[in-house]
Amino acid sequence: VTEWQRLSQRMLLIHPVQEIPRALPALIGIFAAGSNSGNGALWALIGVAVPVGLGMTRWFTTRYRVTADRVEVRQGLFRRRLLAVSRDRLRTVDITAHALHRLLGLTRVTIGTGRSDREGDGSVRLDGLSVATAAALRDELLHRAGALASEQAATGDAAATTELARLDSRWVRYGPFTLSGVVAVGVLAGFAANLASEAHVDPTRSGPLRDVADHLEHAPLALAVAEVLVASMIAVAVASTVGYVLAFWDFRLTRHPGGTLHVTRGLITTRATTIEERRLHGVEISEPLLLRAVGGARCIAIATGLRVGRGAERGGSLLLPPAPAGEARRVGAAIIAADGPLTCTVVAHGQRARRRRYTRAVGGWALLAGALAATSALFGWPAWVWQASVVLLPAALALAADRYSSLGHAVAGGHLVTRTGSIVRRRSVLSSGGIIGWNVERSFFQRRAGLATLTATTAAGHQHYDVQDVALAEALTVAQELLPGPLEPFLERGQHGRR
């Protein structure tokens, strides 16, 4: 059994700095109260000393150790807790370094367990290890020490790893189409507006903004709206591009002989994620509408213990940032070591599935228009409000057409391939080994149309991958091809042929 170890001493410099912004509201209050009572300086000193002291106790009270079968972390001064994670439940090791960390040569290590796909994650976080300690810890945890590691050390690390992808600076052109800047611009605008109204300053009264406001007031309405729209689009595009560079600069995806994939990226905050390949059950190519329009795509891992979907970038399952679609497919194929699932054409689901796409789109539109018409009549809104919704009908029809053209499935190279979606089109490739069981769903309307939704349940990624609105016989054929065992006892064969 190894000794208990502390975090890096240099964290004593970082913890207080991290604590002060958190204690800022209280500090301001203390400061205001102190200056009234006369000895403000003393109070301010106390106000700073308390959070700094608390920050430092974090370092004194945190210890960790790695034993033969567990990782244990002891934390807390008043409320002590011991976190223990079994080593064979470890899925990922994530090493993040913020600007302050990098200045001091430190990193934060997050050890992910299988539960991290749900909200209250059971991951272990060690904030503040030196770069070398963190790398050694990662190798010890994921490469299972043993013969392989020593062999690797003998031959030299660089020769054994293979690089699967590296950021090409031309990919930055996809930055504006990721729309990742929408939130940033919105938050900034909201913050600025809030600040201006709090300080009772009208920014349109002075400076360069006055000229802009004057111009907008005197321009025709349509022109003013168009100008504002273009300006905000440019702001979002710039912010998204900056975001792309910050997050994905120096991106590298490598495969290590210990059976892991490494993703490193980041300009100011660097991040290195390690995924065990035996936890990897497939990949997903996702193409948000705008990115698809310019021929871009992302590649995401489908692995147990890794979040996919909205938090994919933060959850560390991203395998390739927005890049040319061909590149995304190449990387995906290299990871699952099979070309077919990513390039094969998918089987369309036929007329009845197409009709359901249109019924839903038009039905949704009719509901909206009806609701608008009813509220207009009730509250005496002008008639153009609900008449304007007619404009949305072509958009609904286009959405239905695109949703149908995206819909498809295939079985290739022992993988289930499904493709769905329009706003975000996803092609999911799930290996048959990652499939746990099958669900077959049939709504009233699906049964009338002879269709079913086949769901492959899995412990990886989204937890379930659906083949939507497929003919029942086809659904069963797919299921049998991939994982016949559990289905076999419950099948009944018709007269057409007995095996």
């Binding site: 796909d117 147990t304 049939r442 899995t458 412990a459 029942l472 069963l476 064969r493 018709g494």
Partner: protein, 160 residues
Amino acid sequence: LTATLRPPRHRVSRRAIVYWTTRALAGWLALAIAQIVWLVADDSHSGLHVLGLVATAVLGAAHVTVMWRYEVHRWEAAPQAVYTRAGWLHQESRIAPISRIQTVDSERGPLEQLFGLANVTVTTASAAGPLEIEGLDRVTAQRLVDDLTTAAQATRGDAT
């Protein structure tokens, strides 16, 4: 070759019908009593109140007499896999291999104990779709839990 998925072999306990009926009846009665109290307390719109009460009575009677659930709730445990089917309008069949079972729970509410019933839930490593069987009689439920637990223990690994 046309293969179809046949329904699971076993139905749940017949006592489940009585249990479900009682539960449905209790719910509808509570609603009806609330409506009667309102009718007595406030006599301004008595016509509307009576109409509401009639609607409750008709819907309640329909719900209580037509116990579809017994027809559609089915289950089966084969040596390789567990299979459940539920839902009348929205039918869902779930199949999980025995080797991938992670937990088998049986659970009884106070009213269910009165009727000697139990629910069994089988979960896998996937967060999508645990298999739930409601309204088994207690003996069958216990036997099912024992069988599945024994069978699941026979396989190694963490079943993810």
